[in-house]
Symmetry: C2
């Protein structure tokens, strides 16, 4: 099996306050984010479907103009090409999953 | 966005001790499992790629004869068609992700 210990992987700060650890499977990319309170995700879009799994904290997510405050054990599916942005209301631990693989995150 | 509050969804005990809450996106299936200590996953295989994200607890996973004890912030990728089995060594909270969608979990 392809096996990763995230605690042994250095995080990469892809955007200010977004500290990610990455796993690429055959078809998907997984990012385990530690996000600092107040960190902002500028509006953007990508071809990949993205599913946001909130483990800890609260994150305001805006998808195609619809805003939600995501809390632990809430899951949001962002369709491919949908414009989205957001902001960490508290420190967060979020598992994002992308299909297909995010080649730009390798 | 497709948005799910898992706390408002009843869990389904797919196998003894495996209590799952399910989200299906366009291409993937997400299962947030609460697994009872001692629960056993019999050996099986499926065409779907499966990625196991351990959030809490310890789970012994065996894939094609290779055994690993998975702990929090460890991630295992199980290729499609690979034989796998396992056992919860403690109570666990695991997020499993499947590609493509598990139609049998709808």
């Amino acid at each position: 099996m392809n096996y990763t210990e995230l605690n042994k992987q250095s995080s990469r700060e892809i955007m200010p306050g977004f500290h990610g650890k990455f796993v690429h499977s055959d078809n998907m990319t997984f990012v385990h984010w530690k996000i600092d309170a107040g960190a902002a995700l500028p509006e953007h879009a990508h071809l990949h479907e993205q599913v946001v799994n909130v483990i800890e904290g609260e994150f305001e997510l805006i998808v195609d103009g619809e805003s939600r405050t995501l809390k632990p054990r809430q899951v949001a599916c962002i369709p491919g090409h949908a414009k989205h942005s957001g902001r960490a209301l508290t420190d967060c631990y979020i598992v994002d999953v992308f299909y297909p693989v995010r080649e730009d995150y390798r």
